[in-house]
C-alpha cells in the first residue's frame, strides 16, 4: 500500500524532521532579519481595515494582470497533502487536470514542512515588500492569522472563485480574522481530540484521563507541541472556551498542563512523530489529530480517536496568496478548482482529512470503488452537525498574547 507508506513519510517529514536541519539555515536567516523595521509594510488587509467585497483593492496590488491563466503557478504545500497516482514520479491527477483545463504548468512544491520554518523563508522578502516567488501557500490557521495580521496576503477576488463562494462549508465563513472570507481559502481541516490504544487503556471519553494517575497509561501519555491544540484541550478540560481564552485562562491552563507533567503522567511533547510511538506502544494515550489516527489504524487496529466529552479542537490549513504574488489570477483559478466537489473528493479520498468543501462527501459516496465510497460514512472525515458542534476553534491571538502563550508553553515543555 503505497498510500499508507507515504503517510508514514509525511508524519516524519512534515514538522519534526526539518526543524533540526533548519537550524543550519539560521545564520543566513538572521542576516535577513537585520532589515530595519521601517521596511515593514503597513497592514493593508488586516481584519481591522475591513477589506471591501469589491475586487478593487486586489487590482491595485500586483502588476496589472489580465484575467488569463498564466503559464506557471507556484504552489507551496505540505508534503503528501494532495492526491497522487501510482506513477514514477507520481503525478497528482488534480494538478494534471488543472493543467489540461487552463494550460498552466503547476510548479507544486512540498515546501511547507513546518509553519514556523516556512514563515522564516517568506518573512524576509515580505518584510522588504518583495515577491516571495509563491502564488499560493498553505499554512495552518494560526500562522495564516499571523500573516494576515502582518498584511502579507492578497485579497482573493471572489468573482473569480464561484466554486469557493458556493461550496465553502459555513463553519469556516466570516471568522473575526477574515470577516469577508476572502483572505484565505481552507485546504483541509482536522480535529484534535483523544488518541489512545483501546487494548491498553480501555474506551476513553473524557479529557480527565490525561490528568488521571492510572497505572495503565502513567508515563505513556503525550501532548502535542502545537500550542493551540494542547492548550485548547486543557482549557476544555477546565471548562473554559478556547474561543474566548484570556491571559489568565492561559496561565491557568499552563499550570494545569504542568501538573500532568510533574505527576509523571505525561512523558513527551511531540509533533507528528507521536504516531510512530503510539503504533510501537511506547505511548498509549494523548492528544491526537484525527487523520493520523485513521491512517495509524491500518497499522494497529486497536487505536481509537475520540472527540472528548468536554469538546475537541478543529484546525484548518489554508491556501493564501502572498502579497505581491506574480500570478494572483491563476492562484484564484486554483482555489476555485479545488472547490469543485469532484476535485475536492479526489483529494479528500487520498489525504483522509476533513474536506472544507460542500458536496465532497456526496461525490465520494458516489464513487464506484466501494472502499472509497465507504469513506463518506467516516465521521472523522465527514463530521455531522452534532459532531461539528462539539468542536472548538482556538481564538485568534494578538501578537502580544501569542508571544506570551508560546513563551509559557515553551517553559512547560522544558525550553
Amino acid at each position: 500500500m503505497s498510500q499508507r507508506d507515504s503517510f508514514l513519510d509525511r508524519r516524519i517529514t512534515r514538522r519534526t524532521m526539518l526543524q533540526g536541519t533548519a537550524l543550519a539555515g539560521v545564520g543566513a536567516f538572521l542576516a535577513a532579519c537585520g532589515t530595519p523595521p521601517a521596511a515593514t509594510p503597513a497592514p493593508t488587509t488586516g481584519p481591522t481595515t475591513g477589506p471591501s467585497e469589491t475586487p478593487a483593492p486586489s487590482a491595485s496590488a500586483a502588476p496589472t494582470e489580465k484575467p488569463t491563466p498564466s503559464a506557471v503557478l507556484n504552489f507551496a504545500n505540505w508534503p503528501l497533502y494532495i492526491d497522487q497516482d501510482e506513477g514514477t514520479p507520481p503525478k497528482s491527477p488534480t494538478l494534471e487536470q488543472f493543467t489540461a483545463k487552463y494550460g498552466t504548468k503547476v510548479n507544486y512544491v512540498e515546501a511547507v514542512n513546518d509553519n514556523d520554518q516556512f514563515f522564516g523563508t517568506i518573512q524576509p522578502p515580505l518584510q522588504a515588500g518583495q515577491d516571495t516567488g509563491w502564488d499560493l501557500m498553505v499554512l495552518t490557521d494560526w500562522m495564516a492569522i499571523r500573516v494576515i495580521r502582518l498584511g502579507w496576503v492578497e485579497t482573493i477576488d471572489t468573482a473569480n472563485t464561484p466554486n469557493f463562494v458556493a461550496n465553502l462549508q459555513d463553519v469556516y465563513k466570516n471568522q473575526p480574522w477574515d470577516p469577508q472570507t476572502n483572505l484565505r481559502a481552507p485546504w483541509q481541516s482536522g480535529m484534535t481530540g483523544l488518541g489512545f490504544d483501546e487494548a491498553v487503556t480501555g474506551a476513553l471519553t473524557t479529557l480527565k484521563a490525561l490528568w488521571t494517575d492510572d497505572a495503565r497509561w502513567k508515563g505513556r501519555v503525550w501532548f502535542l507541541t502545537e500550542m493551540r491544540d494542547t492548550v485548547g484541550l486543557a482549557l476544555l478540560e477546565m471548562g473554559k472556551k478556547p474561543e474566548e481564552v484570556t491571559e489568565a485562562d492561559a496561565t491557568a491552563a499552563f499550570a494545569e498542563i504542568k501538573k500532568a507533567v510533574d505527576a509523571g503522567i505525561v512523558r513527551s511533547f511531540l509533533g507528528n512523530d507521536y504516531k510512530e510511538s503510539l503504533v510501537k506502544g511506547d505511548l498509549v494515550l494523548g492528544t491526537a489529530w484525527s487523520g493520523d489516527i485513521i491512517q495509524a489504524q491500518l497499522e494497529k487496529d486497536t487505536l481509537r480517536f475520540a472527540i472528548p466529552s468536554e469538546g475537541g479542537m478543529i484546525w484548518t490549513d489554508n491556501m493564501l496568496i502572498p502579497k505581491g504574488a506574480q500570478h494572483k489570477y491563476t492562484a484564484e483559478l486554483m482555489i476555485d478548482w479545488v472547490y469543485d466537489p469532484k476535485i475536492a473528493a479526489q483529494i479528500a479520498a487520498y489525504v483522509q482529512y476533513v474536506s472544507p468543501v460542500k458536496g465532497a462527501k456526496e461525490a465520494i459516496a458516489a464513487n464506484s470503488d466501494p472502499a472509497v465510497a465507504d469513506l463518506a460514512k467516516n465521521p472523522l472525515m465527514f463530521p455531522d452537525d452534532a459532531t461539528l458542534a462539539e468542536l472548538h476553534i482556538f481564538k485568534a491571538l494578538t501578537e502580544a498574547e501569542e508571544t506570551s502563550f508560546n513563551d509559557q508553553f515553551s517553559t512547560v515543555m522544558g525550553n
Partner: protein, 290 residues
Amino acid sequence: MGGPLRRFRFAVPYLLLAPGLLWLTVYYVYPAVQMFIASFWSGSLSQGYTFSLSNWTNYTDAIARYEEQFVRSIVFAGLATLLTFLISFPLAYTIAFRGGRYKNLLLFLVIAPFFTSFLLRVISWRTILGDDGLFLGPLKGAGVVPEDFRLLATPLAVITGIAYNFLPFMTLPIYVSLEKIDRRLLEAGQDLYAAPFMTFRKVTFPLALPGIFAGTLLTFIPAMGDYVNAELLGQTPSTRMIGNVIQSRFLVNNDYPTAAALSFVLMAGILVAVAVYARLLGTEELTSGV
C-alpha cells in the same frame, strides 16, 4: 620560470589559505557577527528589532532562565564523553596491540554503522530501547525489570545515545596514538622489570594522551550542543539540553535575541572549558601527534 614565482613567493601561503579563509568568512564569520549583533536586539518579529548595547541583559536573562538546561548539557556531555572514553580506550587498545592482520577489518567495523544516516541510527535506537522493544521486552517478560520501567525519555537514553554516536570520534584518535607507539619502549619497560600495569601507566597511557585529548574534544564539544539525541531519545521536559532550547527559541518562539545570546554563551562556555582542559593536560598535547 623561477623568476616571477620567486618574486611572489611571499604570497604563496596566503594564496593557499585563501579558499579556507573565504569559506570561513562567508559561512562562519559573517553569520557569527550577525548573530552577535542579534544578541543585542530587542523587539519582536513584526515590530522589528532594534540594536542597543544596553540589551546586554539578554545574556544575563538567558543564563538565569536556562541555567538548568546549561548545567544539564554540561553534565550529559561530560558523562557521555566519559562513557565514550571507557568504551573506546580498551577497544582502540585491543585493535592497536592485538588486532594483528584483522586491524583494518576491525577499524572498518568501528566505522561501519556510521555509513548510515545519523538520524536513522538515532531513530533505530528508539526502536531498540522502546518500552516493549528488543531490549526491554524480553527483560519485562522475564520479570527482571518492573512493567513500568523505561529507558526512553530518561537521561540514561540521551547520554548513551550521545556516547554511541560519538564513539568513532574517540576511538580513532586514540587508536592512531596507540598504533604509533614504538614497541621497543614497551620492551624497555619490561626489561626494566616494570609490571605490565606499570608499563601501561608509565609508557602506554602517557603516549596515548594526545589521542585521548583529541577524542575528548571531538566528543565533548558537539555533545554540549547536541540537539538530536535529546530531541529523539529524550523527548521529555526533564532531558531538554541547551541545543533544544536554542532551536525552540529560534524557530518556534522567533525569539532571535535570546537564541543568539544563548548560542554565544554556549560558545564561550565551551571555549573556557577547553582552555581549562588544555591547561590540565598540558598545551603541547594539543599540537603534538594526532
